[in-house]
Symmetry: C2
Subunit: 265 residues, 2 copies
């Protein structure tokens, strides 16, 4: 089955059979929720995460209308991201709503690898993911969804250099930038989170809202070089980047395999 058609069908399934056109035609007016029905979005923050993985989606989610975004972590101390930027969590795991509308997990190779070995975080993701309306993640953060058992039998994407680790968690890897499979929505490397979140905004609030967001955020990107995928960058550069990341990618794979082994126990 062609991948586009499979996506469309998966989306339909997630929407309970409504047509894709219907799903995208929800206007912001029609989608406006009473205060008691504001969407609750839980976004994991953690040490050594990549801030941009989260900050693009957070802006999109926060401006969809009738949404509360919560930055969640074990405690409320600032976390230092992998580029040195410090973010402050706004809510602890213990206080996070039990049935969020959206659960979101950012990546960051070193931080992801650490959390693949952290049962407290994986348990939090497993529990909230089981009751979340949408389970989402980008970049290497998708591995954490996998380790929490949330991608078994699902098609998913991730940062291009860890996509082939997804089968460790019984997920079907995709090289697409954004993948929707039923209520799992995943994005590729770092900047793919913006496209993932805009796609969700269109699904949840209508394409008029998503178009308004693109306009407000000036989202007509012009990458100065066309090198944002291995195909575009070419073999030589891709090989060089992979080699420079090889120890970190290997460590992520080992951590993923150990996390998978703990499922049996």
């Amino acid at each position: 089955m062609p991948s586009t058609r499979r996506h469309a069908l998966a989306t339909l399934a997630a929407l309970g059979g409504a047509s894709l056109a219907d799903a995208f035609a929800q206007t912001p007016q029609a989608g406006a929720a009473p205060a008691s029905k504001r969407l609750q979005v839980l976004m994991l923050v953690h040490p050594d995460m990549t801030a941009l993985d989260l900050v693009g989606p957070q802006l999109v989610f926060a401006t969809m209308g009738d949404v509360d975004t919560h930055m969640v972590w074990k405690d409320l101390s600032p976390v230092t991201t992998d580029s040195g930027l410090k973010l402050v969590p706004g809510m602890t795991f213990a206080d996070a709503p039990k049935a969020p509308d959206i659960l979101f997990v950012p990546g960051g190779l070193k931080g992801t690898t650490a959390l693949l070995q952290d049962e407290e975080t994986l348990r939090f993701l497993r529990e909230r993911g089981a009751s979340a309306r949408w389970v989402t993640g980008v970049c290497t953060g998708v591995l954490l969804l996998g380790a929490a058992g949330l991608l078994r039998g699902y098609r998913a994407t991730a940062h291009w250099y860890v996509q082939d680790i997804l089968p460790v968690f019984d997920a079907e890897p995709s090289a697409d930038r954004v993948v929707i499979d039923r209520n799992r929505v995943t994005g590729g490397a770092v900047t793919a989170g913006i496209d993932m979140a805009l796609t969700m905004s269109a699904m949840l609030r209508g394409d008029d809202k998503a178009r308004t967001q693109e306009l407000a955020f000036g989202y007509a990107p012009m990458p100065p070089f066309a090198a944002g995928t291995p195909e575009l960058a070419g073999e030589a550069l891709t090989k060089r980047v992979l080699e420079s990341r090889a120890p970190a990618i290997s460590a992520a794979r080992r951590a993923a395999e150990m996390a998978r082994q703990r499922w049996a126990g």
Copy 2:
């Protein structure tokens, strides 16, 4: 003169006459600095800023190699951005290097408008901007560079809904996504910061470095709708967005005009 050629000449001027090809041909190897020569990047953080304005450029700057990025504000208390995300400053105005390599200012309409009336911040920008090697900003933050007198006689861009305020500060407005005029580098709305920073990465560290960053960050964007500029979004949507922002844009213009009047005093 066609705008592309004017940009090229402006860039040449900024580079002291080196050819544009030379500027982009600096390899990361050639550009690698000893520890004592790490680039010092000062990035303003402030209440009601738009986090994504800063977080894209911060990731690009921080990974150019041999760079220290400093988030600067009046004090070190967390600032709450306009989407609710909290960032922690890492350095006070008082402690910021006197002659930074890059000074960067993010936007956020409400936060910018407040700072247009804040002499302490404008003085900081004026002083550091006078000695900075590169003076940069994106979105509405460009107005703060203008208010600090750093854009007099310079061509600059900004968020599309405040570009026409730039002449208040004797700057020549441009609708381009990224504008380089001598050592002033400005970007349009929110996401333009990523393109601005990658352009600077290529100038300062060579195009191989910028290509590597595009690949590592998966920067092959696929906006789900093609609505990221007024031209792409069309008149009806643009009018609606402008109307919804009209009071805030008017407030920014009034604050800009008052800031300009203080130059005389």
